[in-house]
């Protein structure tokens, strides 16, 4: 389905006022209804377009949509089309209400703060219900690709354990399973042709550290390691297998045929905001060429953005100067569109000092650097980082991570665990955090065992943001405004109020 076809569908939906949530917005595993070639779903900011480039998908018997494991989940449980192929906090809350906590997404394995907590008690699921976080249990110490235990560059202690999981006798770090539990948002399973692309920066070595890159077990070639928060899975197929065993509790995993079907489905699926409540249809044929799902379906992956030929999100200044409008509705639409264009320009051209951010200030640029948002969010069409895109912007590490101050009067206590990481004395310290680091989630370090990787998280794609709040891997930004505010605080950017509004509007149409 090309840009024109998507435009007419979107325009028709707009004209007929189909903007309210459809009754079939939620996909249950085994629903067995077809996923259309193109469908739009309402969200707070307008409508998200979901485009299957290969045409309608028969979900009956499809391993992405069928409940394959004992807990009744399918991939679609946590990768909902209406939520940009992630799952929004709003959807999680709705499912709790609709099912009294019995939806498979609340399964004990990772839908509770810890599997040993009582079922159907909201307190047992507080991180999922409050921040959209699933439990990710990782081995401690880390293991290499062959499953052999590594000697990490640091020791780890549990400083705070609100869920009880990391200090428990079974699931704790020193427990029977020798696990460490961190809590993360599901990443969108759309636009993955871009996310998994090997078109730029992929070599046998990790571009930012010089270490060995992960290898695709099928092709034996290096991969971009840009897919998961900690880049622990090499390919879409290994991710699907790992998720089937972990999240779906499928002991035997998936067949080769099922893995291939999941991969093929994901590589042809695109999701992006298609209609803005204030800005109108986003993928008009004569509009900015980077907006809407059809633009993603037609775009080139593995391309580093620049300001001459491959803008990260191409807008061609088409909304820079618009007429006042023939009527109030058009005037309002054009005012919003001009704000989006300004937000785009802030994203690209508003410099600020990026300081003490691991894996950006350490790759030969200096500390600090005077650059822009697009320095890190630089890949064409998605705004991801280049390959091996993990970085510590402070979303999980002290002192920048969201931590409500504790006091006798505090109504809200810290929700996430806090770990103390102590780096070995015979090795150089973390260049910005030293040898003692406090973190809610050590991120990539739980896979690499490297002190420099503590709190480093792979940068996510920026598409479909309107459909899948909250943001950051730990769900610490409830809204797009909070996301912008985090960066404003972290890097002392001092955005003006107008710049913040424009940035939020820009992000809302991606």
């Amino acid at each position: 389905m090309n840009r024109w076809a998507v435009f007419w569908v979107s325009a028709f939906l707009g004209a007929t006022g189909i903007a309210a949530p459809a009754p079939d917005q939620w996909w249950n595993p085994g629903d067995d209804r077809p996923l259309p070639a193109y469908v739009e779903y309402a969200n707070t900011w307008g409508r998200l377009g979901v485009l299957n480039a290969d045409g309608p998908v028969t979900t009956d018997g499809h391993p992405f949509f069928e409940p394959l494991g004992p807990n009744g989940r399918a991939c679609v449980s946590c990768h909902q089309p209406a939520d940009g192929m992630s799952i929004s906090l709003e959807s999680i809350g709705s499912r709790w209400t609709a099912t009294n906590g019995s939806d498979p997404i609340f399964a004990a394995v990772d839908g509770r703060n810890c599997p040993n907590l009582p079922a159907k008690d909201p307190a047992s699921h507080s991180l999922l219900l409050g921040r959209g976080l699933f439990r990710i249990a990782l081995p401690w110490p880390p293991v290499d690709a062959a499953g052999k235990a590594m000697e990490p560059e640091f020791t780890i202690e549990v400083v705070r354990d609100p869920t009880g999981c990391n200090t428990g006798p079974v699931y704790g770090i020193a427990g029977e399973k020798r696990e460490i539990s961190v809590y993360r948002r599901p990443r969108p399973a759309a636009n993955l042709r871009y996310v998994a692309s090997s078109g730029f920066g992929v070599s046998p070595f990790i571009g930012k550290t010089g270490m060995l890159a992960a290898i695709d077990p099928d092709t034996k070639r290096p991969v971009n390691m840009n897919m998961m928060a900690d880049a622990r899975e090499a390919t879409l197929k290994t991710q699907a297998m790992s998720a089937a065993r972990g999240h779906l509790e499928l002991t035997k995993g998936l067949s080769e045929q099922a893995l291939n079907r999941i991969r093929d489905f994901e590589l042809q699926l695109y999701a992006a905001q298609a209609f803005s409540s204030e800005g109108g249809v986003l993928d008009e044929p004569d509009g900015p060429t980077g907006l809407g799902p059809a633009a993603l379906a037609e775009g080139r992956d593995g391309v580093l953005g620049n300001n001459t030929s491959n803008y990260v999100i191409p807008m061609e200044d088409k909304w820079a100067k618009l007429p006042k409008g023939a009527d109030a509705a058009e005037a309002s639409r054009n005012t919003f569109r001009q704000s989006v264009q300004r937000g785009h320009d802030v994203f690209f051209f508003r410099t600020f000092w990026i300081r003490d951010a691991m894996h950006i200030n350490t790759v030969g640029l200096g500390n600090p650097i005077k650059r822009t948002c697009s320095t890190c969010h630089g890949m064409h069409m998605t705004g991801m980082d280049t390959a091996n895109g993990w970085m510590d912007v402070g979303s999980t590490n002290h002192p920048w991570a969201l931590e409500p101050p504790e006091s006798p009067w505090a109504k809200k206590l810290p929700e996430l665990p806090l770990f103390k990481v102590t780096c070995r004395k015979d090795l150089p310290p973390h260049p910005f955090l030293g040898r003692e680091i406090y973190t809610q989630d050590p991120g990539r370090a739980l896979i690499s065992g490297k002190c420099d990787d503590v709190g480093a998280i792979v940068i996510q794609q920026l598409r479909g943001l309107a459909a899948r709040a909250p943001y950051f891997s730990n769900g610490s930004a409830a809204t797009l405004r909070e996301l912008v505010d985090f960066y404003d605080r972290r890097f002392n950017i001092r955005f003006t109020e107008q710049e913040k509004i424009d940035l939020v509007n820009f992000l809302s149409v991606l």
Binding site: T351, W353, F432
Partner: protein, 263 residues
């Protein structure tokens, strides 16, 4: 009267070199000091002060730059040759210059100077915003096919250089890939990897040495990466102390691993 005149000439002869004793062109200089960042209307420039003089180090560019900027929060080891070029950003130019960020934190290194109209950068190869489509120092795209490299003959030696006390970084994949390529073309039947603990004779005659185990750590790290990336020969590993090599002339070369490939 005569005695006071003698005292004058004595003082003039003895003290004159002291009064004008700034660095002279061609002089090698090596010191550890805090870096300073000065903003400009385009990209920031980096400076450092030593013995009362301010030196220009480099500007912010991108990963393709030959000289990459230091870090606030850390001291920097500067090794360079004083140039007679006009000052840049108010600093004496060192050309060539080699910088290495010292690994331990030093929070006193925190000086950021605002943009000042007296200091401008007119050779900015890369703006602070989005790039123009290629790296600042990247060579122009090739117009024809690359010439095949000559077939190597006899033992081949490759040096990899490191930051002070640090191991493999983003700078090394190209070197390691070259070694692997060379090993395949020889083909190498023996590979010897020697890690060196670096040492620096600074301008003030201090002997600055890296950590005791860094030579071994580097050699083992390079060996592990070569094996992991496909080297089939089991390499021989050794490490040594570069203290005797430190003479104040390009001492950064002591922070190295040498890989010798023998057919």
């Amino acid at each position: 009267m005569q005695s006071s005149r003698l005292r004058f000439w004595f003082a003039a002869i003895v003290l004159a070199p002291v009064v004008v004793s700034g660095p002279v062109a061609g002089q090698r200089i090596s010191f550890v000091s805090c870096p300073i960042i000065r903003d400009t209307k385009s990209v920031p420039c980096w400076l450092s002060q030593y013995d009362g003089d301010t030196y220009y180090l480099t500007i912010q560019s991108d990963v393709s730059a030959a000289v990459q900027p230091p870090m606030l929060g850390h001291q920097v080891l500067v090794e360079g040759v004083v140039s007679d070029a006009p000052p840049i950003c108010g600093g004496i130019v060192l050309e060539p210059v080699r910088l290495s960020v010292m690994p331990e934190r030093d929070d006193s290194c925190n000086k950021m100077l605002p943009a000042d109209d007296r200091y401008t950068i007119d050779f900015n190869p890369r703006p602070p915003g989005p790039s123009s489509g290629r790296l600042a120092f990247a060579p122009a795209p090739r117009t024809g096919p690359a010439a095949a490299p000559p077939a190597p003959e006899g033992p081949q030696s490759v040096d990899l250089f490191f930051d002070f006390d640090k191991g493999v970084s983003f700078r090394h994949p190209g070197d390691i890939s070259s070694i692997l390529s060379l090993a395949g073309r020889l083909p190498a039947r023996k590979v010897k990897i020697t890690g060196v603990r670096g040492a620096h004779l600074l301008t003030d005659k201090t002997l600055l040495r890296e950590s005791e185990n860094v030579g071994r750590r580097r050699a083992e790290e390079i060996a592990g990466l070569l094996r992991g990336a496909g080297l089939t020969v089991s390499p021989e590993i050794e490490w040594l102390d570069g203290k005797d090599e430190a003479d104040g002339i390009e001492d950064w070369r002591t922070r190295r691993v040498t890989v010798v490939l023998t057919p």
